[in-house]
């Protein structure tokens, strides 16, 4: 493992441990009260969901272009994290929405686009798992198509419905709400990087093991 890994992991753990306190110190939002605080985990999850999707997409394109298995490993790890953080986003969102808007689910642009993108990520994992040998390249093509699709999904769903709070919420937040948010964002991004590295490493070990088996076969 690279030198930065352990310190980063410790830092991330510490930040997570600290986050409830940071969040508690933030001001109460006037209309939604305590429940609004879930936003501090929901938004960073959503951002990491997006970042993960971009990482997976770019790694897939590089894999298709070069055939280098390292990119495939990165794409797989990122794909799994996209599903995990997407699930987190899609669960924390409705929990918040229930209190904020009265219903668990609303068919508006952001939520629906996120759901569809999340399903594409799940399809990616299903393909990798059940597609049989050679499905790495196919999955990479799917990831590429998924990434290219994001603007289309967003625009089409947007023109279809719109209720989600506008993106400008973030800059206008008072500092007491702004700092906890950025704190959690950094925490989540750090978590993403750590998990990505761990997962890629597992795949690297697996590839090394395969190579060793092959070499052993050659020798005998």
């Amino acid at each position: 493992m690279p030198k930065w890994f352990s310190p980063a992991a410790i830092l991330c753990g510490a930040m997570f441990a600290l986050s409830p306190f940071v969040i508690a110190s933030a001001a109460y939002e006037s209309t939604m009260g305590l429940v609004q605080k879930i936003f501090y985990y929901h938004m960073p999850s959503a951002w990491v969901f997006l970042i993960g999707a971009v990482v997976c997409g770019i790694a897939s394109v590089r894999y298709l272009a070069t055939g280098d298995p390292r990119h495939d490993r990165t794409a797989l790890a990122a794909g799994e994290l996209v599903v995990v953080f997407g699930l987190l986003t899609l669960v924390t969102g409705p929990l918040w929405a229930r209190k904020a808007w009265g219903t668990f689910w609303i068919w508006d642009a952001r939520t629906t686009s996120s759901l569809v993108s999340w399903m594409i990520a799940c399809a990616y994992l299903i393909l990798r798992r059940y597609g049989g040998p050679g499905s790495e390249k196919l999955a990479a093509a799917l990831a590429l198509f998924g990434m290219a699709n994001v603007p289309f999904i967003y625009i089409s769903v947007n023109y279809w419905r719109t209720i989600h709070p506008a993106t400008t919420v973030v800059p206008r937040l008072p500092f007491t709400m702004g700092f906890p948010l950025w704190f959690c964002v950094v925490t989540f991004v750090l978590l993403f990087i750590i998990l990505l590295k761990l997962r890629v490493r597992v795949e690297e070990q697996r590839a090394r093991l395969d190579a060793l088996y092959l070499a052993l076969d050659e020798r005998s």
Binding site: L64, A65, V116, M119, I120, A123, I126, L127, Y130, G131, G132, G134, S135, K137, L138, A141, L142, L144, F145, G146, A148, N149, F152, I153, I155, S156, V157, Y159, W160
Partner: protein, 224 residues
């Protein structure tokens, strides 16, 4: 390149005309689909408002899924898809040839489905033929472009029958939204050309982007 695509298209049409298997089964399935929706949604003889647009597009996509699976299953027997890849023809040409064949089939199905849906659901689908044709054509191209690539790449994969819809439907969500909403606009008493134009523009953009992407990735995805 187009010469090869044309050769493949002609071959597919010849095969299809001989056996008519995919044509008949796909058309019959599409009609059954519409009937199932009719039984499910028409209450006391009154169809749901605006239901016609959704039902039309869902039937087209289900039928398209079936047709894609069957077309490539046929190429899988006798491994003829491999034979096509062995030829010195450019791989994108093979893709275009298969795509044109699927499009021919789906357009044929739509010719049957549009009047049928209009009839059963008392929907004025034929009121604006130019708009309807444009939206149907561009939407079908978008669906088929992605579908042909996925079906071709799944030919050698396991679980290919169930994987095709799993992969295809999420990616073609913009097509279904644009297609259904666009068609629904045409069913309104007053046609709002601006909205229809928006959806049509979205579909055209989708087609251009995804056909290009498919042409780029076809070679990489079909070779080991």
């Amino acid at each position: 390149m187009m010469r090869v695509a044309w050769l493949i298209l002609r071959k597919d049409l010849t095969v299809e005309v001989r056996s008519k298997e995919i044509a008949y089964t796909t058309l019959f399935f599409a009609v059954s689909c519409v009937l199932v929706f009719a039984f499910a949604l028409v209450r006391e003889g009154r169809p749901p408002e605006d239901g016609a647009a959704g039902i039309l597009w869902i039937s087209v996509m289900f039928a398209g899924n079936l047709a894609l699976g069957r077309t490539f299953e046929r190429e899988r027997q006798s491994e003829t898809l491999r034979a096509l890849l062995l030829a010195p023809a450019s791989r994108p040409a093979v893709y275009v040839g298969k795509l044109l064949g699927i499009l021919a089939l789906l357009f044929g199905a739509e010719l049957l489905l549009v009047p049928l849906v209009a009839l059963l659901f008392q929907a004025g689908l034929l009121a604006h033929p130019f708009w309807l044709t444009s939206i149907l054509v561009t939407g079908t191209i978008g669906f088929a472009a992605v579908g042909t690539l996925f079906a071709a790449m799944l030919v050698r994969a396991r679980s290919r029958d169930v994987l095709l819809p799993v992969l295809l439907y999420p990616i073609t969500v913009p097509v279904i939204i644009a297609g259904v909403r666009g068609t629904a606009t045409l069913l309104q008493p007053e046609l709002d050309a601006g909205i229809a134009r928006f959806w049509l523009a979205l579909l055209v953009t989708f087609d251009v982007v995804f056909v290009t992407l498919a042409l780029w990735t076809f070679e990489a995805v079909m070779t080991d």
